[in-house]
């Protein structure tokens, strides 16, 4: 009988908390769809962060109470949201001027793969026949000052999402600055991937065994 390994590492909320901790007070932040959205719930007390959603709102607030949803007040994932006092609405060209003109400080995105050089693949698995859909991902990685990726370290099949070279079509080349996984926080540097923090009970050796690229220690 195989020994069932105890699951180690951070859960999704803990990963989001780690990413939120690295967002400085006063930042303008765009959160991708899915796990990145959790980050907003963990910004430490005393910090003010303004959330941008690329469909035309700066100052995105909490999800609305039941019955108070407005189908014309939505986020990039097309979910109903609210606007904070002091929010503003604008059209798409202005919204992407904020993104492409490097006015947004930090963007947190999900990933299929991240390479040791910071290449990101998160829009297409390149499967023949699949309908491609890109949204704003390529604009975000091209324009936002700092790109955080938040993702499980391994795919459901146990393959490392951190790789030497992405095999999926790229969203952008050399664009990722930091990676938050359930096992560790990694910095992408000119000299390769450096381990910034290990999750509890995760050793460097264990992390390296489960990573498809060479890791370095500070």
């Amino acid at each position: 009988m195989p020994i069932i390994e105890k699951k180690i590492g951070w859960d999704r909320n803990q990963m989001a908390q780690k990413a939120a901790f690295d967002i400085p007070d006063g930042s303008y932040v765009n959160l991708g769809i899915g796990m990145p959205e959790l980050v907003a719930g963990f910004v430490p007390e005393g910090r003010e962060v303004i959330y941008h959603t690329e469909n035309g709102l700066l100052g995105m607030g909490q999800i609305p109470e039941n019955g108070k949803e407005d189908p014309e007040l939505i986020n990039a994932g097309k979910k109903c949201i609210t606007a904070i006092p002091g929010a503003c609405f604008f059209h798409h060209a202005d919204s992407f001027t904020m993104i492409r003109g490097s006015h947004i400080d930090i963007c947190v995105l999900g990933a299929f793969q991240v390479s040791e050089e910071g290449d990101l693949a998160n829009w297409s698995t390149g499967k023949p026949g699949a309908i491609p859909a890109v949204g704003g991902a390529m604009d975000l990685v091209a324009g936002v000052k700092t790109i955080f990726v938040i993702t499980q370290h391994l795919t459901k099949n146990g393959d490392s999402k951190i790789v030497e070279k992405c095999t999926y079509p790229l969203t952008g080349k050399g664009v990722v600055n930091r990676i938050y996984t359930n096992l560790a926080i990694l910095d992408v540097t000119e000299n390769g991937l450096f381990v910034r923090e290990l999750a509890p009970d995760v050793t460097f050796e264990y992390l390296q065994q489960n990573t498809g690229a060479r890791l370095n220690q500070y």
């Binding site: 959603t53 709102l57 097309k78 798409h92 060209a93 992407f96 993104i99 890109v134 604009d139």
Partner: protein, 238 residues
């Protein structure tokens, strides 16, 4: 006297011809001019090239226009949405063309079209499959691809308030592509929830100046796409 107000959605879309290039506002259902789209279905113009961020949901609005085989090509950034089956089915059968564009590039191509700029360079999509075949240039050591402006024959846009000059305001995130689409078409057709007297919209808060607008029709109670989809409604009704 300038009066851009027309009496019905039917009259507003009457000039749309077969083979026209049509910009349609909206991000998902927010800002989608569903009554104008339904009027275009009744009108029947076909072989359209439609530029819109998504491809509609359920069997109403933009999805119904596609289902009615009036669209030969979609230019969009995200052709899938929850409850979106019409476009995928036709795409798999190779009965509709798709030009996939990063969302910011889509917005900028429309903005450029409206501003008389034929093309521009952007870093979005560099080193990805979406940059293949496009001219690239290096500025200050960084690579950019050239993207062409989008100019359309018509744009269909939803707004909140309009006056007879075509000055417009919008509602929250339903603004999205509306203001730039108004600028990039030869004929801009707008459905407004309310038509007001000139001067009632404070000139300081006009979002789309009337010069960009050709026709305005009042639709006081526009349908909510998600509600129609939840009720499994279809257009045309069967």
């Amino acid at each position: 006297m300038i009066n851009k107000i027309v009496k019905s959605a039917e009259e507003a879309v009457a000039d749309i011809f077969d083979g026209a290039v049509v910009l349609i506002s909206g991000f998902g259902e927010a800002g989608s001019p569903i009554e104008l789209i339904h009027a275009l279905i009744d009108h029947g113009a076909k072989d359209l090239t439609v530029i819109s961020n998504n491809t509609g949901s359920g069997h109403v609005g933009l999805a119904a226009l596609i289902e009615n085989k009036q669209v030969k090509k979609m230019i969009c950034s995200f052709p899938r949405t929850a409850n979106s089956t019409v476009f995928p089915d036709l795409y798999y059968k190779k009965e509709i063309e798709l030009e996939l564009v990063p969302q910011g590039t889509l917005a900028e191509r429309i903005r450029a079209g409206g501003a008389g700029i034929p093309a521009f360079f952007t870093p979005s999509s560099v080193n990805t499959p979406l940059a293949e075949g496009k001219e690239a240039r290096i500025f200050d050591g960084k690579t950019y691809v050239m993207e062409h402006a989008i100019k359309a024959d018509f744009s269909l846009v939803k707004c909140k308030a309009a006056d007879r000059y075509g000055n417009l305001t919008y509602n929250k995130t339903a603004r999205n592509f509306g203001p730039i689409m108004c600028t990039a078409a030869n004929t801009t057709i707008v459905q407004a929830k309310q038509i007001v007297e000139p001067g009632e919209i404070d000139p300081e808060i006009v979002v789309t100046p009337g010069i960009f607008v050709t026709k305005v029709v009042e639709v006081t109670n526009p349908e909510a796409e998600s509600k129609l989809v939840a009720e499994d409604r279809r257009y045309p009704c069967q």
